[in-house]
């Protein structure tokens, strides 16, 4: 790990002010599970770390409209086991518990999970080209070893995936990210707009500005309490990143028909992959495998393999269908 200066701050304003002085060479640190790992690999070499763990951003509160406001410093474990999350947002709890290990979930924070970096081998290996790590050097994964890479939303610059499970559930639940910038300026970013596709600027994972700090994630009032499933396919049964994952949430009316549906995919793109227009045809229908297959076809439109990851297209189709079947109770929940 490179030497750096360490600064502990006691307020959000002080944190933002400290980072604004040298936004590119300064990083916030909270859980540190991803940042320190990247520093050990010399992928990141910040001059200064600002310890934000003493900021008052570790609460989980009900919002006036019945939703939930999650402080950016709430750990993945505390969030997953929170009674309201388990009761009202089980999809989020399921996704969190499918990710990482108990130790890492005790350390990792909500804000940090949103900002975690890809696990692309080339991004991590500073001896190889990577447009995300070193813009303009090329992409080692295109034409290289790309079994874990993206099948949707790629560019000729980058085919990395976003590795989070939590974010996939948050995309399905239409979470909103509260951020604060210099001078106390606040704004809210819908989950769908928070992460970016790589395009010509793969070095930018999100639309967060360098001088902004995530302060909270807000969930809308609960709509999907009873019929949800987070279905994750990985190389081993626990403690592995998703090859493909699907977060499915259904609202079932008294007559058994679908009142609302959400599906988001993980492991397939530079951001959680969701298309509301793919979900819409389910509304008013009885849960049925054929309709779930149509959702998959729509959601996977334009999917393109890179060679080693060609299997992900069919795997994603099956994962979507099975997640929706589990959510609908048509198959025993895993």
């Amino acid at each position: 790990m490179n030497p750096f200066t360490y600064q502990r701050v006691a307020s959000t304003a002080a944190a933002i002010q400290a980072k604004a002085a040298h936004p590119e060479s300064t990083r916030f640190i909270a859980g540190g599970t991803n940042l320190l790992d990247l520093m050990k690999e010399s992928v990141l070499r910040p001059q200064t770390l600002i310890d934000i763990t003493h900021l008052p951003l570790d609460g989980i509160e009900d919002t006036a409209d019945g939703g939930l406001r999650i402080g950016a410093l709430v750990s993945n474990a505390d969030l997953a086991w929170h009674p309201r999350v388990q009761a009202d947002y089980p999809l989020l709890s399921q996704a969190l518990l499918a990710g990482a290990s108990p130790q890492l979930r005790n350390m990792a924070t909500t804000g940090g999970n949103l900002l975690q970096r890809t696990r692309c081998y080339y991004f991590y290996d500073i001896g190889t080209p990577c447009n995300k790590r070193a813009p303009g050097t090329g992409c080692g994964a295109i034409g290289g070893v790309n079994r874990i890479h993206a099948i949707l939303g790629t560019s000729d610059q980058c085919i990395a995936t976003h590795p989070s499970d939590m974010c996939v559930a948050m995309a399905a639940l239409e979470a909103r990210i509260h951020v604060e910038g210099p001078g106390g300026a606040r704004r809210t970013i819908p989950m769908a707009d928070f992460h970016r596709l790589p395009g010509d600027t793969p070095e930018r994972d999100t639309n967060l500005e360098a001088n902004e700090l995530i302060v909270a994630v807000e969930l809308p009032p609960p709509q999907f309490q009873a019929h949800t499933a987070y279905f994750k396919i990985r190389d081993r049964r626990s403690y592995a990143f998703a090859l493909v994952s699907a977060a499915a949430a259904l609202q079932l009316r008294d007559d058994g028909r679908i009142g609302a549906a959400r599906v988001a995919l993980g492991g397939v793109a530079h951001k959680p992959w969701r298309k509301p227009e793919a979900e819409a045809p389910l509304v008013g229908q009885l849960p049925a495998e054929a309709d779930f297959g149509a959702v998959a076809t729509s959601l996977l439109e334009g999917a393109k393999g890179q060679g080693h990851n060609d299997f992900k297209i069919e795997m994603a189709r099956r994962t979507i269908v099975r997640a929706l079947q589990k959510a609908a109770g048509l198959e025993e929940k895993a």
Partner: protein, 184 residues
């Protein structure tokens, strides 16, 4: 990385902030004060700075769990923890889990069930198991298996590890409490 080879101060200071930091914490029940470079991991501080080599460095990347310790009762990977950020914390390592003549229930259970072969992962397994018991979320063998997945055992002693952990889990509502008089 051996912290003794690291320079005491950073080559360049982006901000006027300290690079050598004084920290105070409780280690296995005893107060400890150290002055450390900011980039010292908790794992390196425990092993190199405090001479407690029970906590193991396996992968040094949060993937194996051999470095698991308890910070304020919660299990964490000490390799991905900056020591300076745990200023004021209560830290328990395998050295604080039991006495030579009065083993911690988890230590005894690991012996009873032959829950190791080479033993390298064992301190992390035992600290992790205590964390799991503190959390109170695991009740069945399957849940123990899932919630111990952050600890890799390359000898493959998993079945016996699960058996040992389940035995302690079932001994009391929360299972084996930490030793009452931990030693430093």
């Amino acid at each position: 990385m051996d912290q003794s080879v690291l320079p005491r101060t950073a080559a360049s200071n982006a901000l006027d902030a300290p690079t050598a930091c004084a920290i105070h914490f409780t280690l296995n029940g005893a107060p400890v004060t150290r002055e450390i470079p900011a980039w010292t991991t908790l794992l390196d501080l425990l092993r190199e700075g405090c001479g407690l080599t029970g906590t193991k460095k396996g992968c040094d990347h949060g993937q194996c769990g051999a470095c698991t310790v308890l910070v304020d009762g919660k299990r964490v990977n000490s390799c991905l923890t900056l020591a300076v950020m745990k200023d004021g914390s209560d830290i328990v390592t395998i050295e604080g889990m039991g006495e030579e003549d009065a083993l911690h229930p988890l230590q005894q259970a690991f012996i009873d069930h032959d829950a190791f072969q080479c033993g390298y992962c064992t301190p992390g397994q035992i600290c992790s198991a205590q964390g799991l018991i503190n959390e109170g979320k695991a009740h069945t063998e399957d849940e123990v298996r899932e919630l111990m997945s952050g600890n890799i055992c390359r000898c493959g002693a998993y079945p016996n590890i699960v058996t040992a952990v389940v035995q302690v889990l079932r001994q009391s509502p929360r299972g084996g409490a930490p030793s009452q008089e931990p030693r430093a």
